[in-house]
Symmetry: none
Subunit: 400 residues, 2 copies
Amino acid sequence: MDLELIQSLVVPNTTKIVLLSSDGLGGFPHPDTGRSELETARIPCLHALARRGACGLIRHVAPGITPGSGPGHLGLFGYDPLRYQVGRGVLEALGIEFELRPGDVAARGNFCTVDAEGRITDRRAGRIPTSRCVELVARLRAIRLGGVEVFVEPVKEHRFVLVLRGRGLAARLTETDPQAVGRPPVPVRALAPEAEAAATLVNEFVEGARRLLVDAAPANMVLLRGFDQLPGLPRFPDVCGLRAAGIAAYPVYRGLARLVGMDVLKTGGTFTDEVATLRAHWDAYDFFFLHYKDTDKAGEDGDFPGKVAALERLDAEIPGVEALRPDVLAVTGDHASPAVLGGHSWHPVPVVVAGAYAAADSVERFSERACAAGSLGTFPAHHLMPLLLATALRLTKFGA
Amino acid sequence: MDLELIQSLVVPNTTKIVLLSSDGLGGFPHPDTGRSELETARIPCLHALARRGACGLIRHVAPGITPGSGPGHLGLFGYDPLRYQVGRGVLEALGIEFELRPGDVAARGNFCTVDAEGRITDRRAGRIPTSRCVELVARLRAIRLGGVEVFVEPVKEHRFVLVLRGRGLAARLTETDPQAVGRPPVPVRALAPEAEAAATLVNEFVEGARRLLVDAAPANMVLLRGFDQLPGLPRFPDVCGLRAAGIAAYPVYRGLARLVGMDVLKTGGTFTDEVATLRAHWDAYDFFFLHYKDTDKAGEDGDFPGKVAALERLDAEIPGVEALRPDVLAVTGDHASPAVLGGHSWHPVPVVVAGAYAAADSVERFSERACAAGSLGTFPAHHLMPLLLATALRLTKFGA
């Protein structure tokens, strides 16, 4: 469905929408109990929400496709993640809240180890500590390239971000990472004529890095990949006709909210802080994207009891959100992160949409299996926002 | 979803996938009992599979559209059958395991009866016996056309295949069958300039056939339709990153497996033979397409008890497949063939996907009605392969 269609149907209203994304919400049955994290946790408030709302499952990208956090959230914000793709360099820059500007070319960088012949022996430089990454990034900042500004920013361990800022750059570039050890890094090539200038500059940067890092083993070389520029996304507040705010303790989710044009609110490091921020800004916005990280962290760590506990902590915050009396409250996630898989997975993710006009179904529990029987069915993530807008009486009819 | 996307996400693994296609699997309630073939049969192994797997219904082409065996299987192999269309001439050639080469133009041929004025009186020549078809095809092989090789191959009763092999042929041709009696066959016309040469050659062939068959009534003329060339399908082993084998007792299904680039394994005439072939080649492949014909045969014959018995024979073979411990086992069909309809139908077909990461749902029986409540929902056939790949942990995530 086109965002232009949605935008054309938006009508003003004073209703308020909260979209709570519990990262990596979906889980998988524990082999000992046959019950998933959601089926194990004591989450009375989420179950009550499921009873009074309409439930379903969200499939973010396509059947069998495991979403990354970027596509997962873009889908929830209404953008078909297959149509609106964001490169790894841009996501990495968003993740450190680097203020990317239109036209900037961003890449994900790795420090790596090369031998005397320049062949890669470790693509992650032994995962050097972040403090070492900061030191080496400071060295790389000495590199000057003709006609462009160069930004090098540390991320974590062996990872950094490279950004080139200048006129007429294009990001259609191959990567330098041969994706295998025993081979030297490969020069980038332009995949389109307009990217030739950027290709030359990037290869100069890599050559400069090689010289500056010659004594820095195991981090004596760099690999660059995921070259991209800010995508030209329609602005969420314009598409949806909403004053929209993002509240997230983690930078990448703030970056994703900013990417679509939401205001990003300053908040503390816990979800309790986030709910306090929500309360403090309640009157100033129509839509809040509220992000909860702990479910994903525990899932990615393969920590089943930890994920159960994270769900129970989330449940305890639901009354605080409901006390604000949002007209529409949706709870879902950007992808599944089952503890038994220890990472993101392709399984569809439970969703509940509660509100006066949400049309409660017969689902009584908030879980993968219970929501599979919900009235919303299994649907693509980018269908959620139109549904939330409609439930908030913010869309007029299509056709006379 | 693009096959390119799938291919870009494939990662190596050692997991094994079995896709069992029970031809014409789906049925329809018997008017006397209100129970379908699957609901009538004693199929404890399939029910057990449904209990431990995720279930749903497959709609192969689109709502209300009855799939032929070609599109039905292409969908199961991951090819959107509306995007990847294969002409009848090619399917007919595959059905006799004629080794079509790229560029060959294949057509389905019928012997027909014409009167003294050349007007068709029987479009199927009284369904002459296959032995007569073989004799007349031998006569037609005397036809020589300039610059191309001509192959004429008998099929069954009044049906044959015509293949022209040469440089620069194109298949965008109208058919000679006026689809009505009382009219003469019509000359083929080129639908594109590049097909002019083929049009001329085909019309020469028809003229030659007319002369050679003048004394052969009721089979004294031919009709040609469904001109097509091998489609440029992405190769299944490349798209899915699988060493893939097809096991089928019937030629058309072997042809379909070969069409997408699977290795076709030599097997016997029964499904027990097919399972033995599966066992014998277990180590050499990652993916097996296993075809069971009997369900469709009974369904097409309108033989309800026969289809029930075919399902029970299939059920008895399931333990032999499970004994190989496939990481993912999917059972479904290429279309429904309800005995009460005596042919293919548009009804969605049950599917079960079993495997450690399939996420069992609450479905306890393998039937049309039970699977309708499954967690996979009702989905297009070409979404199945990505799901099987994901469940076999052979796809990485999309986006960071």
